[in-house]
Symmetry: C2
DNA sequence: AGCATTTACTTGGCCGGACACATAACTTGG
DNA sequence: CCAAGTTATGTGTCCGGCCAAGTAAATGCT
């Protein structure tokens, strides 16, 4: 028995009552993640790896920092994910010419060969989600998600600042 | 340097072009998750644990399966998370009276003592998100997220069925 | 040039989360 | 009542993801 057994679902949990926006985001994410995962495993990939591939398909030869910004991950996560993908033969890493610190990540033929399937995978996820939305609502959702993300990022930044610099608060 | 350094953000990655709904969901989730995490660590909790607490605050004495359904997690995840929380003194586990298989999870005083702080945490996250939305858009988002989740769950179920029972496809 | 700072990445450690497999405890058909 | 099937958990294993701390290379400031 795995996680997807949640029945059609009475979304009446304590959680959705207390924080419907947050819990809605959480459960949507989990459903999407699990749905994509099944397909990912068929490609021999693990979640997150396909994001890096997609980013490289768009523009090969990016550094860890480029990837980290695009995919919104911690450096350490990118570092080890990229290493695993290198070991799997999907890509190569080499120090940059101008900046020896910057590891430049490049696709191998094997990594490039996955492109159609990875693109199809995400297109499928997108299509499944889009099929129950009108174009207006679809655009709405995208705009809302973007705005909420920015709001949360800003809130986190200011929260960290005030923690790091408590002197400001007393003034 | 951690993940939140992504600048105000030109959301123009290859990912948001290919699958804006999916990528929007992903990035929103990550932003929310990271924002909540900072606060969670201050309570000595790890992500996911607070969901179980909230569920128990609503109704103490639930089984693993109850919790798993509410929080949308795998049994194995619930199993180990609950064990860790037991070791941390937040709750206790005991076999059910009628059904000895079913582990009944109950709050300890220590676990119950966290209630105000955990509730406040999620209220804060919710408030941060809600503050940039009109009531209409807020309701919209909640409804959309719920619908999308159901769609994805259904898609995953039918996908698994057709994989498990390929004979059906040829007919 | 020379030393402090910043930047790019690596490592170690810990938890979350999923799957596959194993086990104990109901439940059910004959 | 018993064997077969179902249900509720537990375990092992592997990857994702974060933070904290460490190293190396580039920059800046004097």
């Amino acid at each position: 028995m795995t996680v997807d057994d949640a029945e059609p679902l009475t979304r009446s949990s304590a959680l959705s009552a207390l924080a419907p926006l947050s819990f809605g985001t959480l459960t949507l994410w989990r459903a999407m993640h699990n749905f994509a995962n099944d397909k990912l495993l068929e490609l021999g990939l693990y979640p997150g790896q396909e994001l890096i591939l997609l980013q490289l398909y768009d523009s090969d030869g990016q550094t860890h920092t480029d990837l980290q910004r695009a995919v919104r991950l911690d450096h350490s996560t990118v570092s080890r994910t990229v290493r695993r993908m290198e070991q799997a033969g999907l890509l190569t890493r080499s120090p940059g010419k101008k900046d020896k610190r910057a590891m430049v990540v490049s696709l191998t033929d094997q990594g490039r060969a996955l492109q159609p399937r990875v693109v199809e995978l995400w297109s499928t996820v997108e299509a499944v989600m889009a099929e129950v939305l009108t174009n207006d609502r679809r655009a709405d959702f995208i705009e809302l998600a973007g705005r909420l993300e920015q709001t949360l990022l800003a809130a986190r930044r200011s929260q960290k600042l005030s923690n790091a610099d408590p002197a400001q608060e007393g003034i």
